[in-house]
Structures are given as C-alpha cells and as structure tokens.
Amino acid sequence: MSEEEHVLELLIGPQHPASGHMRLVAKVDGDVVVSLRPDIGYVHRTVEKLAETKNYIQIIPLIERPPLADTANHNLGYVLALERLLGIEAPPRAQWLRTLLAEMTRIHSHFYGLGIHGIMLGSSTAFMWAFWDREIMIELAQRLTGARLTYSYMIPGGVRRDLPPGFEDEMDKALRYLERRIPDYHKIFFDNPVTRARLEGVGVLRREDAIRLGIVGPNLRASGVPYDVRKVDPYCAYPELDFNVVTREEGDSLARMMVRVGEIRESINMIRQILKKMPDGPILEERYLKMIPPKWKEWMAQHRRIKLPAALISLRPPKGEAVARVEAARGEAVYYIVSDGSPKPYRFRVVSPSIRNVVLFEHLIRNCRVADIPAIYGSLDYFPPEADR
C-alpha cells in the first residue's frame, strides 16, 4: 500500500477541546502519529504592525494582550528595551516592584499552564485547582495594579503604583497557603500513577535538539540546559536575589511539568526575599516625577500611585535601536525596537517564547500515539496568541 492509503489525516482544531487557538494537522497510522504540522496564525493580531501606529506608551497595553496570562514579564521586557533606548533607568524601588509583579505573574502563569495540562490529560480537578490557586496571585496583583491580568503596570522610568498598605502580611499568608497546597497537587495529580504513566518518557526532547532548535524557558531547562535570562543577563532586582535555576535532565513531558512546579517554589522564595529587601524611595524616575503638577503630590502620596506626566504620552527616543530580553514565564522574550526619532517606533519586533517553541510540535509529536498529542501539547505550555502576536 502507498502511504496515502493507510495514513489518516486528522485536523485537530481550531475547534477542538485540546487544540487551543490553532490547528494541528496530524497524520495518523493506526494509533501512531506519523507526523504533525502545526498550522498557526489563528490569533495573528498584527501587533508588530499596529505598534508602528502607536505612541511608545500606547504599546504597553498592546504587547500585554498576546501573552495574556503572563502580562507583567512581557510588559517588563518592552519597558526595559524602551528605557535602554531612552537612556534612563527606573529608581531602585520601582525595579523591585517590577520584579515582585514579574514573579507573581510567573506563579499564576505557571498555574495556568499546569491547569491546561491537567485538563488535556483529562484531570478536571487539576485544572480547577490550578485555576483556583491562580486566583490567589491574581487577587494580590489586582490590589497592587488595579486589574486582574492586564496590569499595564510598568511604564518607562518606573511603575504606576506603590504597594498597598498591608500587602506584605497578605502576601505572606497567600504564599504559605500555596506551599500547603503543593503536596496535595502531588498526591492527586503530579504523583498520580495515571499522570506518571501518561507523561513519563513521552515527548522526550534531547539536550542537543533543544539547543539546536532554539527552545526557550522551562522546556529548555527540562532538557538539562541551565539557561535563564535572570541569571545570564540579570535585570531589575534579580542580581540581588538568591534563587536557583530549576533544571531536569530527562526532557520528557513530566520533566517539563516538574520544572514549572519547581519554578513556582522558587518564585515563592523570591517574593519573600523581595518583600524583605524592598528599598524605600520614589517609584518613578526623577525627571518624569518633576513634570507632574505639584498639586498632585499629596494625592499621589495618599493613594500610593502616580499620575502620568504628559511628557510620557509622546516620548521621542533618539534615533537608534535597542534590544532587551527577559525571562518570561514561558521562556525568554526578546524585544527589539528601532526608532527613527519620531514618537512612534519605526520597527517593533516581539519574539515571544511561544513562537520559538512552536517547532516542538513537529519535532516532539512524531511516532507517538494519538493520546500523546494533548499530553505533549499541554507540557509545552504553549499559548497560541503569544506565538501569533
């Protein structure tokens, strides 16, 4: 028989319980997937082109939409690139606040990934629990920033709000709750023999392949490459934080999941350190702070937030270009801005972690079983809007 005669082409998605916002074209021989081709672009919202029509500050909300669960890290990446372009730096307290929100976002983004992985394996409890524990961090982030997910918190030169009163105590209780919960997750999901059977040895990404294909984030670290931008090229408050880069050697789906769990633990530790070491001081760079009308000073101190100075609306960075990279929850995000001196960027490039990981679909989901498609997909924590931008 020719190949066409015994291979069944399955179109998984875009309407499919486990496809997300993409289509997977799987060629299936019996129960074995011969090859799989990801068909992405279903959420391509043209961020790079739209950025060319927007002022620099208006791009902040724009780049937050694609990586929705992981907004703060991407916001930070963009703002760092912009600050490099402008030649300014945020004051220390703002840097620590940024790091705080980035780690909080990492926790809830990882829970998001774990929850989606759970439902893809059929464990609705893992999904529901993860989405519940996410709410803890979301609730706290909401007190800090005023929004559930789309914080738009970091602006060039600083952050928009200061810690609300009593935040440290509340955070401490929340972190202790999360630490209590993780053993239960282990019992019902991570160490459930069924989960183990589904994930162990499934979708193994070897170390050299991970490097060759340019994989990022927990997926890379699960294959034994200790590459983490927070260590390699530290930004904000990370040089002063004590944390480990979580790695695993196996490179299978289970390892990828467990790296995320390990990173949640690390982030919990980091948040404790951040709240302990947070310096006092202004949260916006002085030159912008001076532009705010004096009549707002008292209001700002009382409400612990800042007014946007009008100068920020139409920032005009000098001609040139800047690159910044951050370790977002799903991996390294690269922001590249080319400025021609006008208030709008000349070329704006976002390289999100998901677009760099999309190659894993065709690489990993091959010669595995149909049921392994969601198991591997879930373990990648791939978020199509982030990839398509």
Partner: protein, 341 residues
C-alpha cells in the same frame, strides 16, 4: 372502573412488566440517570472547591439540572450529517441505549420477585451487557467522522480487554457459589458471608473492569475529549446525543446492580418477609442503595484521575486484570475447599 384500575395495577405490578419497565428497568434507569449525572457533577465540583449546577433548582442544589439538559436536547434541531449512514446514525444510539439497559430484566430484586429465574441468569446479564459496545462501533462507523471512527476502533479494542476478564471474575463467583442463579447466590451469601469478603480479588477486579467497560475515569478513553472530541458521539446532537450519553450510565447502573448481587449480598440482610407489599419495596430498596453506593464510587473517580492512554488501559487489562481474574477463580476454589473442610 375500579376493576380496570386494579387490573392495570396488577398488570404493572406483575414481575413481567414491572421489572423491565419500572424497576430495575426503564423508569428507574432514567431516574438513576438523572440523579447520577447530577451527582457526578456535584461530587467533582465539591472536590474542585466549587458548587456545580445550582440555580436550576436552588433549594435542592440544582438536582433537576439533567431535566433542563434533557429538555434542551429534546427541542434541539436533530442533525444528521449528509455523509453519515442514516440508518446506523439514527438507530445506533437507540439500540445502544436499549442494549445497555436490557440486561436489567434478568436481575432479580427479591427472593420471589423477578422477571425470570434461571440456572444461568448470571450469564444472561453478562451476555446482554456485552451487546452495548458493539453499537458504539456502529455509531462510530455510521457517523462518518474521523474522530468517531477512531473512537469506535478504541471501543473495539476495549470490548475484548474488558469483557473477557469481567466474565471470568464474575464466573469466579459462580464457581464459589456453585450456581449461576442470581437468587440462589444471594441466598448463599446470607448463609455464608458476602461475596466481597469471600473473594475480594474478584470484587476489586470486577469493580475496575466496571469502570473500564462503562468508560468512567481513569478509563474514559472512547470519548476522550481532549484527544478525539467525543469519540463515536462527535456528530450527535439533540436527543440522540442524550441517549448516547445516557447509555454508559445505564450500563453502569446495571453492572452496579450485578455487583451488589454478586459481592454485596444483594438485598441482604433482609430475610424473606411475610407481610404483603414489603416483598416489593424493601428488598428492592436495599439492593438499589447498594448499587447506588457503587455508582457513586465509580463517578467519584472523575474527580481524582486523569485518563489512561488506550495502550496503557489495554496493558492494564491484559497484564494485570486478566491474570487477576484467573487468580480469583483459583481463590474461589481455595475458599470453597477451605469452607468444606
């Protein structure tokens, strides 16, 4: 007039109509269906720290959620895809549902109330039960959908993997009791011990296989939504879908009744009662409660487990459950010889 009413009542209460139509047949099967699906959702919701269906009837915790769902199915547009095999598509679910519940007719509900009593009534129940998965195959093929086809094929693999060990573990009990007559089995359990104490291995094996054959978690493989949408039922809408969804629960109900009779002493500890009327209600209720507990335990697994891959389920069935069922036969012999010494 009264005569007519009495005649109808008599007819209804006669075992040959009562058993297939009312209990444990159609009507109670529907009642169980309404209850158990709601209960499954509530139970999973509780483990997941939430409420589940609530506002449809708030005082009873949303207990009639399935009524609303059924009404919606009933009034939804029935769609038959152009390329489906119309006959298979329409009659598949009906036959699937019917064959899932038909085995209930061979189940006795008391020492002296049954549609028929036979020396081999256990075989009748098991045999009729094996019919249902075949219609899953028909449905999967008939709806002419790739996911349906894969789901049907999975069912095909699972039939052999679950039905054979299930037969064997049930027959282990027949070996133990020395009969295949379900009424006699209950009688013997009242003299000895409950089957679950006599042969726990067969009980556990049978229970796991029950989960497997009714596609409860962790073996919800035939309609594994994250892999193959709804498997054979992907193309079904409206009331036909309602039937396909209900079928596996009805099968679970029948198997739970069988489990209660084989292992939990049936309507024990009730002795044959003398006063009129009681022969119907009390033993039936006891049996029903036991079956209900088994069903609740089965649906609780949804809150605990992800699902196995098909090959893992097959391996589990052939590597562990099948040998376990064979072992349980020997265990039966051992117990029997121990008993007679």
């Amino acid at each position: 007039m009264m005569g007519l009413l009495e005649w109808i009542l008599d007819l209804l209460l006669s075992p040959w109509l009562f058993v297939p139509l009312i209990y444990p047949g159609l009507i109670s099967a529907f009642a169980v269906l309404l209850f158990i699906i709601w209960f499954e959702r509530k139970l999973a919701a509780k483990v997941q720290l939430r409420y589940g269906p609530l506002y449809v009837l708030k005082r009873l915790g949303g207990a009639i959620q399935l009524v609303a769902d059924l009404l919606r199915y009933l009034f939804a547009e029935p769609i038959v895809p152009d390329q489906a095999d119309r006959l298979a598509f329409i009659f598949g679910p009906i036959l699937l549902f019917a064959s899932s519940y038909i085995a209930a007719i061979a189940i006795p509900i008391s020492y002296d109330f049954y549609a028929f009593r036979s020396e081999i009534s256990l075989l009748v129940v098991l045999g009729l039960n094996t019919l249902a998965p075949a219609f899953n195959l028909v449905i999967g093929w008939g709806s002419n959908n790739k996911f349906g086809l894969i789901g049907g094929l999975r069912e095909g693999f699972l039939i052999t993997a679950d039905e054979i060990p299930m037969f064997v573990s049930a027959l282990a009990m027949a070996v133990l009791y020395g009969t295949m007559d379900l009424v006699r089995m209950v009688e013997l359990q009242s003299e000895w011990l409950w089957g679950i104490a006599l042969n726990p291995l067969a009980a556990v094996t049978f229970f796991v296989l029950m989960l497997l054959s009714t596609s409860r978690f962790p073996f919800e493989i035939v309609e594994a939504e994250s892999e193959i949408v709804m498997g054979p039922f992907t193309e079904y809408s409206g009331i036909l879908y309602g039937l396909t969804m209900g079928a596996s629960y009805v099968k679970l109900y029948v198997l739970s009744l069988l489990f209660a009779i084989l292992f939990l002493g049936g309507w024990e500890p009730l002795p044959p009662l003398e006063f009129p009327g009681s022969w119907l209600i009390l033993p039936g209720a006891v049996l029903f409660l036991k079956a209900l507990v088994i069903m609740c335990l089965s649906v609780f697994m949804r809150a605990v487990y992800p699902r196995y891959r098909i090959d893992q389920a097959l391996r589990l069935a052939w590597h562990y459950l099948f040998p376990a069922s064979i072992l349980s036969v020997f265990l039966s012999l051992l117990v029997l010889s121990g008993w007679s010494i």
